[in-house]
């Protein structure tokens, strides 16, 4: 008999709890990175883990991201389930070689003999007034790399469930944590009924057009839908949750049901995940489309300094402008 309990948790707290529960259940789960020990991580996602599980289970490393990911590869090869934290999105780049040439390829390289059950946690994207290198939306680099799974929760419940699923998964997962949502709260029912990796969800029903979002832009899409509703337009909102694997079924069904769509993503548009969404949905749903799928994304510029970041972030108005542009008059 499982006891059901409810807790109101922020995304940060939900992730912390997911780590704690996973470590309690499975002694092979280890957590390491920069400042994840005594400090509990700069965002406190690993708060208390060293105290609870000891130095061998949650520990600080020297400052070297390639070394951190590389060591995780070796530990995963040898019976452990490492979870590592990259302190900020852009600070995962020194580990790019390890991620692309090893994390992504080890299973395939060895015909499935060497699996790498590991999770790379990346506090990511902007909207927190961070200076250069602290606000990159780096999902496209990972999503384009075969062999990686890439997820981005937008709610505390999904954060908990997806992190548990990622840790339990036999294959590596790039776990993107939208920094600006760390402090948003939600009531979660435990035990969580987990959405598996690879399933999108319709967050809001709607009939006129579909907004496709993930991670930090999900709340933006929901707010846009709310505003549109007041203006008499019914927008459906799909939250991808997983970028790889991609839930074609849910997304295409949603777009077919409305015939119009806007992809909302914080990352620069050019050759980003948003482009993939437009391309694959258009390929699959062309006949159902009343207008080309529009993109509202970050511009093709380096992430701006704090005083200018609001221009870069997809906002409600920009999303609604794009919706307005979906050739309504012609339909």
């Amino acid at each position: 008999m499982t006891t059901v309990a409810h807790h109101k948790l922020s995304l940060a707290q939900a992730l912390n709890r997911a780590l704690r529960d996973a470590m309690a259940e499975d002694p092979t789960v280890v957590m390491f990175g920069e400042d994840v020990g005594a400090l509990g991580g700069v965002f406190r996602i690993t708060d208390g883990l060293t105290a609870e599980f000891g130095e061998d289970r949650c520990f600080d490393t020297p400052l070297a991201e390639s070394g951190i990911v590389g060591m995780a590869v070796g530990m995963a090869m040898n019976g452990m389930r490492p979870v590592v934290e990259m302190q900020f999105d852009a600070f995962a780049y020194p580990a790019f070689e390890q991620i692309v040439s090893h994390v992504a390829k080890m299973r395939n390289r060895t015909r499935g003999r060497v699996a790498l059950p590991m999770v790379i946690r990346v506090p990511y994207a902007g909207g927190i007034g961070g200076v250069e290198h602290h606000c990159d939306s780096s999902e496209a680099y990972y999503a384009h790399t075969p062999g990686l799974q890439v997820v981005a929760p937008a709610t505390p419940a999904d954060g908990y469930a997806l992190l548990r699923a990622a840790i339990a998964d036999p294959d590596p997962v790039i776990f993107l944590e939208p920094k600006k949502l760390y402090w948003s709260k939600e009531e979660i029912e435990f035990p969580v009924r987990a959405p598996g990796i690879g399933t999108a969800v319709v967050r809001r029903a709607g009939t006129d057009a579909t907004l496709i979002a993930y991670g930090p832009t999900v709340p933006v899409a929901l707010e846009a839908a709310e505003v549109a509703a007041q203006e008499g337009r019914s927008l459906q909102v799909v939250d991808l949750r997983s970028i790889v694997p991609f839930d074609d079924e849910t997304v295409c069904a949603a777009v077919r049901s409305t015939g119009r769509a806007v992809v909302v993503a914080e990352s620069s548009g050019f050759a980003g995940v948003s482009a993939e969404i437009v391309a694959r949905v258009t390929e699959r749903c062309f006949a159902a489309l009343a207008a080309p799928i529009r993109r509202v994304t970050g511009f093709d510029i380096p992430y701006p300094p704090p005083k200018l970041e609001h221009f870069q972030l997809p906002g409600v108005d920009r999303v609604l402008d794009a919706v307005d542009d979906l050739q309504w008059e012609e339909s």
Binding site: L63, V131, D300, K307
Partner: protein, 360 residues
């Protein structure tokens, strides 16, 4: 031990020329030099504390202070000539100002106005670099280019104890050694990398010992001793200028405050540890020495204080000024000529703004 190896190994303990009580223990630079440094130190401290205060007042987003490390900051810049380059990290704002950068411009990054607020060519100060150790290969490149042209320029490349663990530290030292580039690698070992203590960063006898593996001479210096820093760094710079290749200098110092104002240092270190370093303050020490020699007049000291206040006022005034952010800047500097795509994107923003104005 071979002579070659002896040349590379640092001394067993850090070079100190003035002890914490202000007594000379070796061959100290002349009074005029040290007075100039004391003045710079006093301004440096004042700038650190002013910047910290400005964070609390909401004028700066964040400030990684070099409070306690000012002797390193001042020395790094004072041993350089105008043609020499300084490569600072996010914690080395003060060093940049000693090399000539306007503190207001230097803090543009942390104010959130723009990434780099100053012209790197004006004072030969590279943009503050945040990704750890990534500036070190750049420093080697600048030095190598100068050397190929036969220019007598030297590069001072700074990083922290944490930064020494990154692969780029390794690659930069190795390239500098192989190409005999005139670079002084200056590590401020302040015992912490955010919360990570030195013992988790390295098991080496000292960070200066890392030079051996590259054929780069290493030296250790008391990072709170202005005289020792000027001497050791100065010698390294002139050695590099004379074509004798790179050097690695580790300064032993301490981060007196939290990593930044956003950090909570009580989570990982005791107050007692911090307190122990108060007595080793670089300013107190140099002032005691110069006072002991009768070289520091009350007048001069007052003028140092006044200059520091002027610098602080300049910083306050500058940071209290609000620069109107201009969205056109977003698209103007990505390439020398904006692409069609960027022009379209700039037009979208311009259109949004014009509609906002129309609505208002």
């Amino acid at each position: 031990m071979t002579p070659d190896l002896r040349r590379l190994l640092p001394s067993d303990s850090p070079v100190t020329l003035i002890d914490p009580d202000g007594h000379a223990t070796g061959d100290v630079p002349d009074d005029a030099t040290l007075l100039r440094s004391l003045g710079a130190l006093i301004t440096a401290r004042r700038l650190n504390d002013q910047a910290y205060a400005l964070v609390r007042q909401g004028r700066l987003a964040v400030y990684p202070s070099s409070h306690g490390q000012e002797a390193c900051q001042v020395a790094a810049a004072q041993v350089l000539r105008p043609q020499d380059w300084l490569f600072p990290t996010y914690r080395d704002t003060v060093a940049a100002t000693v090399k000539g950068v306007d503190p207001v411009e230097a803090l543009s990054l942390l104010k959130g106005d723009w990434h780099c607020g100053y012209d790197p060519y004006e004072h030969h100060v590279a943009p503050h670099t945040t990704p750890l150790a990534t500036q070190l290969p750049h420093a080697v490149g600048v030095a190598h280019a100068a050397r190929l042209r036969g220019e007598p320029a030297v590069v001072m490349a700074m990083c922290g104890d944490g930064g020494t663990s990154e692969g780029d530290f390794h690659e930069a030292l190795n390239f500098a050694a192989v190409f005999h580039a005139p670079v002084v690698f200056f590590v401020q070992n302040n015992e912490y990398a955010i919360s990570v203590p030195l013992s988790r960063q390295t098991a080496a006898p000292s960070l200066a010992h890392k030079g051996v593996g590259y054929g780069v001479p290493g030296e250790r210096v008391d990072g709170n001793d202005m005289a020792a820093l000027l001497t050791v760094l100065g010698a390294a710079v002139e050695r590099a200028r004379a074509g004798q290749g790179p050097q690695l200098v580790e300064a032993h110092t301490y981060r007196m405050q939290a990593h930044t104002n956003a950090d909570d240092a009580t989570r990982y270190r005791d107050d007692a540890e911090v307190a122990a370093w108060v007595g080793r303050d670089p300013i107190t020490r140099l002032r005691a020495y110069l006072t002991g020699r009768g070289a520091l007049t009350a007048e001069a000291d007052a003028e140092f204080a006044a200059a520091a206040e002027r610098a602080a006022a300049h910083l306050r005034d500058g940071l209290n000024q609000d620069v109107e952010p201009n969205p056109e800047d977003l698209f103007a500097y990505v390439y020398s000529t904006p692409t069609t795509q960027l022009r379209e994107q700039a037009a979208l923003v311009a259109d949004e703004l014009s509609r906002e104005v129309a609505q208002a």
